[in-house]
Symmetry: C2
Subunit: 186 residues, 2 copies
């Protein structure tokens, strides 16, 4: 029945998300994903065709959720960065999957991300033209700075993380928000 | 003769650097490294013992060069970030190798990096205590912000990079320097 197939696909995607986040594409094992999902390799290849295609399905799903959960607010970029921080805290796999994507699929440009970035850059340019936002940075640069600062605490750098382990989540969020505020100040 | 062995090791390290930067640890192939270095797998295992140990040799060498080439200047953090940017431009493998290290060796804390970060944090704290540097950020946070902003243009995010491809190197450097200046402004 269709319900069963949907449930199987959901379990497969969740197991694949965990496996890819931990090991990347080259390091992931389809048989581990199958075991974790109570499925088998033949079923995975039937649904998705290949390990690469399974990663693409996992990543596209994550990107859509990410973009939908964190709409840009050009009139409050510090708080926008704070909400990105919240999202990374809630979904710790996001940064790792995005990083594997960058490293292992260097040639793959995601149209959805590209379109989302273009729309954000246009919104920033509009707000600048209307005098609602500092013009000290080009629109794309400002977006880049905000995204970079939002990721401050989620770079998975153990030699840095171990030195700031005592900072609370609320404090770490406040640093991100204050840093973006410093960037957008005229 | 020792000279030959040194030259062979240098060729192996260079070939391994290229291979690991492109493919990571799981994706790297020792036979490709051997072919690129005019060597063979037996010789690599003789010198380094394993693929993981070869990555460690590559990465430790890179980290030492990185730390030596970019000493911290607490009295001019914007220009320090600019010099980090210059280093990433000159050695494009640095960010990719560091990212593979984070992803594939999550549990490995490099003592040399940890010691370097501790020394930098102490230097920032000293400068703050002497009134030479803003106290709006904790020392470790300020170091984290500077390092994060220095990496602005080297995150290997194609969906962002393609939108800013026209920015010159000099301009990209000036954005990093200006962003850190905004952060350290009181």
């Amino acid at each position: 029945v269709p319900g069963d197939a949907d449930a199987t696909r959901r379990r497969l995607l969740q197991a694949a998300t965990d496996e890819f986040a931990a090991h990347g594409i080259a390091g992931a094992r389809v048989d581990r994903i199958a075991a974790a999902a109570g499925s088998n390799k033949a079923q995975i290849y039937h649904y998705y065709g290949s390990k690469d295609a399974l990663f693409a399905a996992v990543f596209d799903t994550m990107v859509e959720q990410n973009v939908a959960a964190t709409p840009l607010d050009v009139d409050d970029l510090p708080e926008y960065a704070g909400r990105l921080f919240d999202h990374y805290e809630a979904y710790p796999h996001v940064q790792r999957l995005a990083t594997w994507h960058r490293l292992e699929r260097g040639g793959v440009l995601l149209d959805s991300v590209l379109a989302s970035n273009r729309a954000k850059i246009a919104a920033i340019a509009d707000a600048q033209a209307q005098g609602r936002l500092t013009i000290r940075w080009a629109p794309a640069e400002l977006l880049g700075l905000v995204l970079q600062l939002a990721e401050l605490w989620h770079g998975n750098v153990p030699e840095f993380d171990s030195l700031v382990a005592s900072a609370t989540r609320q404090h770490r969020r406040s640093v991100v928000v204050a840093a973006v505020a410093a960037i957008v100040r005229d």
